[in-house]
Amino acid sequence: MEEPLYFPSDGFRLFGVLHLQEGARPPSSESRVTGHASRIGFVFCAPFGEEQKQAYRVYVEMARRLEGLGFPSLRFDYRGTGDSHGAFAEFSLAGALRDIQAAAAFLSQRTGVARVGLIGLRLGASLALKSVECGVRSAECQEPEEAGSGGTRHAARVTPLPSSLVPRPSLLVLWQPIVDGALFYRLNIRRMLVRQMMTHGKATGERDTGSAETIDLDGFLASRAMCEEIKALRISDFGLRIADFPPTLLVQFAPTTEPTAEVRPLVERLGPKGSFLSFVMEPFWDRLGYIDCGAAIEATVAWVVGRAGPRGG
């Protein structure tokens, strides 16, 4: 069963789709004890911009697969993106982190799962990893920020979610995380220049958005502050030790089965907490045509079941 819904985060109304197996009910305290209900659910952390569009269906298929096995999950749009409220220029990495926390709290409260795992692709994977750091060092992720002028938010200032309501991620699935935000930003600019070249024969450069505060980031009206946030993102700077990581699956999509230079440091850092899979296939989030991701979805679901047990019991 898939239920489209809205849930709150910092005064934004976020759009999500809750996947819950037909007939499943939020467990009572008794059923939690007897193990009748799934004890772990999953939040899907979306990638950014064009990559989110290309990966949309993969998330749907994986969520349905998990639902069929009895694992509830929540797919959602960050503030200012997709069907969620707010202007795109209000999207920020700090805000997206709080949205992930709000999604985890909502999933736990709505379905009764005691544990929440995070599944992310590209920027979503990096944010999922950052969420672990937030759970370990909450002060780094809970600074209040000024609410913007657009959208439908109601709070003048952000009130952090009580830590008791935010489950710490107990499983992580990272599909090709962005390890270097500056490189990712550069790729987005490159993608825009190539598109201009294909359309006009040559690149026309940065396009005027009518505001000094925003730039056209490959078709998305991004705030300059958010662009600086992205450029500053470096997984190697996350203050995490091996003990901080939950069991983590790192999935690579590359021309080789060996960890590439990009992901090898993260593989080494995860140590015994990490599992690594590589699929020799094109980066589906970066392609126009259909690419079958069935094998990657199946392998990921198998890993999840292996770590969580049937129905997360």
């Binding site: 790729l187 490159r190 993608r191 220049l193 190539v194 598109r195 201009q196 070249m197 294909m198 024969g201 040559k202 690149a203 450069g205 021309p255 296939m281 094109e282 970066d286 392609r287 126009l288």
Partner: protein, 88 residues
Amino acid sequence: MPDDATIEDRLKAMIVERLFLKVSPSEIADDDILMQKFEIDSVRLFEIVIGLEEVFDISLEDDEFSIERFESVKAISDLVRTKLPAEA
């Protein structure tokens, strides 16, 4: 890739690898029109741009993004040569 591989050889290997082409690099002629022969769209061209910046450790300027510079391996290698430091 041997140290003495030409720019053209390195480009062909990069193109085959990054585009997951089912051909050998040697099957690409220097003057093949890449967009016709390999159905290269904007995302595949993007992959070539990123690949050549990575392989040759160069950075393209905005005004170097013009379609004729990416028409063939020969055209791309000409562009790469202008970006590489002159040999001593």
